[in-house]
Symmetry: C2
Subunit: 248 residues, 2 copies
C-alpha cells in the first residue's frame, strides 16, 4: 500500500446551494467567510468532510453548523475538482442543493460564517473559489427539476395563491407563462387543496389560497410521474416538415 501514499494527500469538501423564494424573487443562501481563504467574501456554505463521515451526512452537518439550518433534504448535483481551485492544496468539492421555505427557518451564522444571508440569484456577483460555477450548475439543475415535477411545494409558504405559484415558476424558468394554461395544468394534477379562504388586506380582488396535498405529492414522486411546462411563445409557427415516405 505504500506505493499509494502519494495519493492520500487530498482533501474534499461539500458545498451547499440552498434556494429559497421570497418577495417574488428566487434567492440563494450565502455566507460571508470569517476565515481564510477568501475571508470577507461571499461564498456558498461549505466545509471539509470529516474522515469518518459520509458525503451526504457531511453536507447536512456543514449546512447546519454554518447557517443553523437543520433537517434539510440535500441532493448531490456535481463534483468540482479543478487543480487550482483551492489555495491550500488539492481540494475537490461535492455540490449539493436544496429548496426550502425561507420563512420556516431561522438563520444562525457560525464563526466560520460571519454572516449568512439570502441573496437574489439574479444579483449574485463575485463569489469565493469557483462557487459561481457551482451555483450556475445548481441553478440549471433547478430549472430542469421544475419542468419535471411540481417544485413549488418546497419553496412556498403553506398557504399560497396560484399567482404566487406562477411567479415562482417564472422566476426559476426566467420566462413568462400564460396564466390560464398555467392554472389549468397545475389544477389538473390534483395536487392542490383549495382552502376556501382568500387573501386579506390587498387592494384588489383577493385571491384564493391553496395548500399542497402532501399525500398525493408523495404518490406522484413515487410513481415517477413527470409533467412539462412550456414557455408561452407567440406563435412561432414551425413549418413542420412532413416526413418523406421512403421508397417512393
Amino acid at each position: 500500500m505504500n506505493e499509494f501514499n502519494e495519493y492520500f494527500k487530498s482533501a474534499f469538501t461539500v458545498d451547499n446551494v440552498i434556494f429559497g423564494f421570497d418577495e417574488g424573487d428566487l434567492k440563494v443562501l450565502l455566507i460571508n467567510r470569517g476565515e481564510e481563504p477568501f475571508k470577507g467574501k461571499w461564498a456558498l456554505p461549505g466545509y471539509f468532510v470529516h474522515p469518518d463521515e459520509d458525503l451526504d451526512t457531511a453536507a447536512k452537518r456543514v449546512l447546519e453548523e454554518l447557517t443553523g439550518l437543520g433537517n434539510v433534504y440535500l441532493e448531490q448535483v456535481k463534483t468540482f475538482g479543478t487543480v487550482g481551485r483551492h489555495p491550500f492544496g488539492r481540494v475537490i468539492t461535492v455540490a449539493y442543493f436544496s429548496l426550502i421555505k425561507i420563512s420556516h427557518y431561522t438563520i444562525q451564522p457560525s464563526s466560520i460564517a460571519k454572516k449568512a444571508k439570502w441573496h437574489s440569484v439574479s444579483r449574485v456577483s463575485e463569489l469565493a473559489f469557483d462557487h459561481r460555477e457551482i451555483l450556475d450548475a445548481c441553478f440549471n439543475r433547478l430549472k430542469w427539476l421544475v419542468r419535471s415535477r411540481p417544485v413549488g411545494f418546497e419553496l412556498l409558504p403553506p398557504k399560497f395563491t396560484l399567482t404566487e405559484l406562477q411567479h415562482l415558476y417564472e422566476a426559476i424558468l426566467e420566462t413568462e407563462l400564460d396564466k390560464r394554461n398555467f392554472r389549468k395544468k397545475i389544477l389538473s394534477m390534483n395536487l392542490l387543496i383549495d382552502l376556501d379562504e382568500t387573501q386579506e388586506g390587498v387592494a384588489h380582488r383577493p385571491a384564493r389560497l391553496y395548500e399542497f396535498d402532501k399525500e398525493k405529492y408523495e404518490q406522484f414522486l413515487a410513481e415517477g410521474f413527470s409533467f412539462e411546462l412550456k414557455e408561452s411563445k407567440k406563435k412561432e409557427k414551425k413549418p413542420r416538415k412532413k416526413v418523406r415516405a421512403n421508397l417512393a
Copy 2:
C-alpha cells in the same frame, strides 16, 4: 493552514462506465483487476487521480491507460464517498460515463487490468468495491438520456437499419416499442440520412440503411431540443378526472 492538515489525507479516483451495443445487447466495459485490492475481480476501469490533474482529464487518461480506449467523450455522473468503500483508506470516486461504438475501438488491457472485456449489462453480477452501485447509477442516467435525445448516434455503427436502432432503444429502456410509431418519431426528427442502400446477405427482405446526419445532430443538441419515447402500452384508459371548477 496547519489546522487543516488532518483533512489532507484522502484520495480520490475516477471510475468509468463505458456502454456499447453489440449483437442486440447493451454492454459495459469491465476490467479484471491485476492489483490488490479485489485482485482478480471484475471492476469498472478506474484509478487514482494525479495530484496535478483535473478530474475530466484523469477520467480520460485512466480509461486509455487501462483499456486502450482513447479519445472518448466522458460525462460526469455522480460521486461516491461512503466511508468504508475502499480498504486502503478514505477514497471517494467520481463516476463518469460514455457511449461508444464497440467496433470502432480495440481494447488493450494494461498491467493493472489483466483483462478488459465487454459484458452484457443484464448479466453483470458481482463487482469490486461499490462498482455495482455505480453501474446502476450510470445505467439510470443512460435511460434518462435516451428519452431526451437520440442516443443511437454514439452506439451504432455508421450504417444501420431502423430495426437495429429500435432494438438499441429497447435494450436501453428495457421495454418494447411499437415499430410504426418508433419509425414515425425517429424519421420526423430529420436526423437520419437515407443511404439508398440495403442490407445484403440476409435471408429475408433486406432493410434500408441509414446514417446519422451529424450536422443536424449538433444543431439539435445546441438547441437543447428534447424528445420523448414512450412505452407502447395496451390502452390503459385513464379515467382522466376533470378539473373541478372552483368557486361554484
